[in-house]
């Protein structure tokens, strides 16, 4: 196993860890808004690491640029959707979870 | 260059292209437009179908590879006697129905919508279906046929028609889904979908997947053909549609899937079919005859009566299967001829009956059988057409239906299956009974204060021509059956 391959495998692993964290957050967080936080931030980072890992192995410049494009696109998509969902939920009157409230 | 001339001997693709072209033109011209295009297109198509029939009777089976590619990737088209008969039948019936529909939609402009383009696409799908040489292509044409037919049923737009169309669509999707499942399993087993290649591969000791496949295809097609327990969608769909559409559906569209059952039963899957399956189909056919006739007898609306009559007549077609399965060559041949004659004559007669009923309803402004009094004297030609259609359904001479019944009974006696003779005879009597139910009302005097509009002559005479053709087929059926012999 050569160095680039090892490196990309490590990056894949890191990405997966983020994905796992995102999933855990999704399972544990108490309301829509907090779950959105988990999804938007953690999973995108996981994807970023995966793309990074692939970039190392990319056969050329153009394929590499394409990978980056995919990442940006995914980012954009998730940010937009995030905003729309949150806005809609808020407009519809879903009250955010409050730590102090739940402790009572 | 005109298609059908000597410079273009290959008429097969044109039979699919011509309706596609005029349908698209009609579509571009917008709703309600395109009657004239349809008429011209059908005239050409009829010519093509005649030409094809002649080519087949002279030089045997015709085939054509689309785009010059052969199987497995290309699409093969193929026409034998049976396809030629059905193609010819389709073009002729639709030609007359087009004449009818043009007059009908003048009187009924709100129902026309996209009738013309949809009819064109339907014809293209149907012609392609009759010409397909592989079962996957058949699936595609079957599905397209179903979708266009649903579009035609829904065109009127009321709750009943849209509901009926929806029911029809779901039944059709279910049916074609089952058919496609069969295609998938057959392909998985033999690695081909071409009927010609499959035929020698299939043997009686096929893997069980093939039996499942054949079963699924059969059930799917039965659903589309509306054989007895699967008939639930047919009466609303055929009864609610505008008269030209009802005629088109009852006369031709259900026949398309019946044609497939027959073709697959006889050609590639013959080694697999069992007497028990054939008897079961026969029994279902019998049930359809009894149930359809009973329902027809109890209907209060004219078009529903005719629609239930279609249910019964479809049952009649299925009596064919016990007679062609594991019987003597002679009996099978006779029964097959009878079955095909029944298909042809029923198509002509049913188109005539729906067309005549449409004229009657248009003139009276009502659809109940109780209000038919006086029609016999006001619309003699239409009632005559209806009665002639009824004669064909009942299988009485001199109609083509009589020849069909004769041949079927001959096949049944020849194979020693007396029971089916009784069923066929009773089926004819039951048809006579419900046709008579309409006629007796028509002969009664007109109700006081009833409204009456004189219909266009084209409405009456196109129906009459259809009925007359079904009648005259009785003395000129030899030609049809010679064509059928070419396989």
């Amino acid at each position: 196993m050569d160095v680039p391959e090892l490196l990309s495998n490590i990056l894949f692993l890191i990405g997966s860890v983020f994905f796992l964290a995102g999933t855990i957050g999704l399972l544990r967080f108490p309301d829509v808004y907090t779950r959105l936080h988990a999804l938007a931030k953690v999973d995108n980072l996981g994807l970023g690491f995966t793309v990074l890992g692939l970039l190392i192995q990319a056969p050329g410049v153009l394929p590499a640029l394409k990978l980056i494009l995919i990442w940006l696109l995914a980012l954009l998509a998730s940010a937009t959707a995030n905003f729309l969902i949150a806005q809609r939920a808020f407009n519809r009157g879903i009250v955010p979870w409050d730590a102090s409230e739940s402790e009572k | 260059m005109l298609p059908g001339t000597d410079r273009m001997p290959d008429v097969i693709p044109w039979l699919i292209l011509v309706p596609l072209v005029w349908a698209s033109l009609a579509f571009l011209r917008g709703p309600g437009r395109g009657g004239r295009l349809a008429l011209a297109g059908l005239a050409v198509q009829t010519g093509l179908a005649v030409k094809l029939a002649m080519q087949i009777s002279i030089s045997g089976v015709q085939s054509h590879a689309v785009g010059g590619w052969g199987a497995p990737l290309g699409i093969d088209l193929y026409a034998d006697g049976l396809s030629a008969i059905l193609l010819l039948l389709t073009q002729v019936v639709v030609l007359l129905l087009v004449v009818y529909a043009r007059a009908y939609f003048i009187a009924h402009p709100e129902g026309v919508s996209y009738f013309w383009p949809l009819t064109g696409y339907l014809l293209a799908a149907m012609n392609a279906l009759f010409l397909s040489a592989d079962i996957f292509n058949i699936y595609v044409t079957l599905e397209l046929l179903g979708l266009t037919a649903v579009g035609l049923v829904a065109a009127r737009g009321g709750t009943e028609s849209v509901g009926a169309a929806m029911r029809y669509l779901l039944a059709g999707l279910m049916g074609s889904g089952l058919f496609l499942l069969g295609v998938a399993l057959v392909y998985g087993t033999y690695g081909t979908v071409s009927i010609a290649v499959l035929a020698p591969l299939i043997e009686a000791e096929a893997p069980s997947a093939v039996f499942v496949a054949v079963g699924a295809m059969l059930v799917g097609l039965l659903l589309k053909t509306a054989l007895f327990p699967f008939h639930f969608w047919l009466p609303p769909a055929h009864g609610e549609a505008p008269a030209p559409v009802s005629a088109l559906l009852s006369a031709l569209v259900v026949k398309a899937s019946f044609y497939l059952i027959l073709r697959l039963w006889l050609q590639p899957f013959a080694p697999l079919v069992t007497t028990a399956a054939a008897q079961l189909l026969g029994l279902l056919g019998m049930a359809a005859i009894l149930w359809g006739s009973a329902m027809a007898l109890s209907q209060t609306r004219l078009k529903m009566l005719i629609a239930y009559s279609t249910v019964a007549q479809i049952g009649y077609l299925f009596l064919l299967f016990p007679l062609v399965t594991v019987t003597s060559q002679e009996a099978a041949e006779s029964a097959l001829q009878g079955g095909v004659m029944q298909v042809v004559t029923h198509a002509l007669a049913k188109a005539a009956m729906f067309a005549a009923a449409g004229t009657v309803i248009l003139s009276l402004g009502r659809d109940d059988i109780g209000g038919l009094g006086g029609v016999a004297s006001r619309l003699p030609v239409s009632i005559f057409a209806f009665a002639l259609g009824g004669i064909t359904l009942a299988g009485l001479p001199p109609s083509g239906g009589f020849i069909a019944k004769w041949l079927l009974i001959d096949g049944a006696l020849n194979s020693g299956q007396w029971g089916w003779v009784v069923v066929m005879i009773s089926g004819g009597l039951l048809s006579a009974a419900y046709v008579c139910r309409v006629l007796r009302r028509a002969f009664l005097p007109m109700e006081a204060g009833a409204r009456f509009n004189s219909p266009a002559r084209a409405l009456e005479w196109s129906a009459f021509t259809l009925a007359l053709m079904s009648l005259l087929l009785g003395v000129r059926s030899a030609e049809v059956l010679i064509l059928l012999g070419i396989r």
Binding site: - | I409, D410, I425, F443
Partner: protein
Amino acid sequence: MNLNEALPLLVLGSSLVPGLIIFFLAETRFRLRTALNLAGAIIKLLLIGYMIWGVMDNQSYHFRHTVLPGLDLALKADALAILFVSLSGALWLLTTLYAIGYLEDSPHRSRFFGFFSLCVTATVGIAMAANLFTFFFFYELLTLSTYPLIVHRGTDVAIRGGNTYLAYTLTGSAVLLTGVVWLYDLLGQVDFTYGGTVASLGSEYDGQLKIIFVLLIAGLGVKAAIVPLHGWLPQAMVAPAPVSALLHAVAVVKAGAFGIVRVVYEVYGAEFSESLGVLPPLAVAAAVTIVWGSLRAIWQDNLKRRLAYSTISQISYIILGTAMLGLISTVGGVVHLVHQGIMKITLFFCAGNYAETLGVHKISGMNGAGRRMPLTSAAFSIAALGMMGAPLTAGYVSKSYLSEGAQQANIIWAEWVLTASGVLNAIYFLPILYRLWFKSQPPAWPRKHIQARGGKETAWLLLIPPLVTAAATLAAGIFSESNWSPLFWVKIIAVREYSP
């Protein structure tokens, strides 16, 4: 196609073509319609005359069209066909005349005459059918073309009668069809030939042949109104008088009887039928029908109903004659085919005259009608006497041949039946004659439909036909031994049937 082939088609066409044209004529084209009708009828008679001449000259007239391989539509004019064709041709002309007078003002005349012509076409087709398939073809066409005639009036009663008629006849023809197809399946083409074709099959088919025989006779028996298949006939008498006349004398019931004659002699063959043992049951059925029809006739007060039951009884004379093996009984049976036709049509014409002129439908209302309508009543009396078998009438000829035939065949009970039937005939006809001639007229007749013109008792178109047929009844009886009588012709046929 030479003339000999075309002639059977022309005979058919002479009524078919006018019929089809008439369908599409406007109601008001009275003259054209009449001209077409009469021209067709006269042309038909001329063609028939030419054919009779040719048949005597040993010409043969055949037409054949192959519908399917092994299934021909074939027509021929043999002696038996000529007998029936001439009967229908002649009576069609008379009935048409009568119908023109009868229906002068009623609606839907185009429809009526169209179907009337179709009906005659079918009858002629039945007569000339050269094989069972063709026979069946026209037999059904007859059913279909008579239905609109029966329901012509459009009243509830008429339509109910028509439906009963259709239910019976269609069921009958379904049974018949089964037998026909079965026979075709065994034999291939079943042509009518002297002496029959079935015998060639061999004895292992006897069982099947018996069943087929039963199917065929049951199918034909419906139209021939053999008890218990006769239920439709009394109901169908609601049709207009010309229709009843045609139905009872020529078309429907005769078609059934004619079919039985063809089946027994020319499909099965007289000897083979006898050896198969199927004739005695047929004879018994005929006998039962004769007696039962006569008995029921006695209790009817409606004149047309009584005549209808009389028809049921009389038709079975033909069948009885056919079912008894022997030359003489055959002659008696077949000649009755003609004689009964002439007599019964006279009776119905007269019944129509009473109804249309005086409004009398019931026998109890016929008191003194003989003095009001002497010519009609005279014709009626002649025909009624003929029915009873009085000497000098056509009925006497057929009945004497029948009883002689029964003696020859050594069937004693048949003689008793014939005698008993004669007595019963007298019981139901003589009271009518008595009322006609010897009771006094009522102060007023129920209503007057048809104005008598020129001092005649009724319209001349209604009067001529019964007088002609009554004269024919007498002529056939008095000149029975002449070369032109039906009897002479029937004797030729019978000889051929027994020595193929």
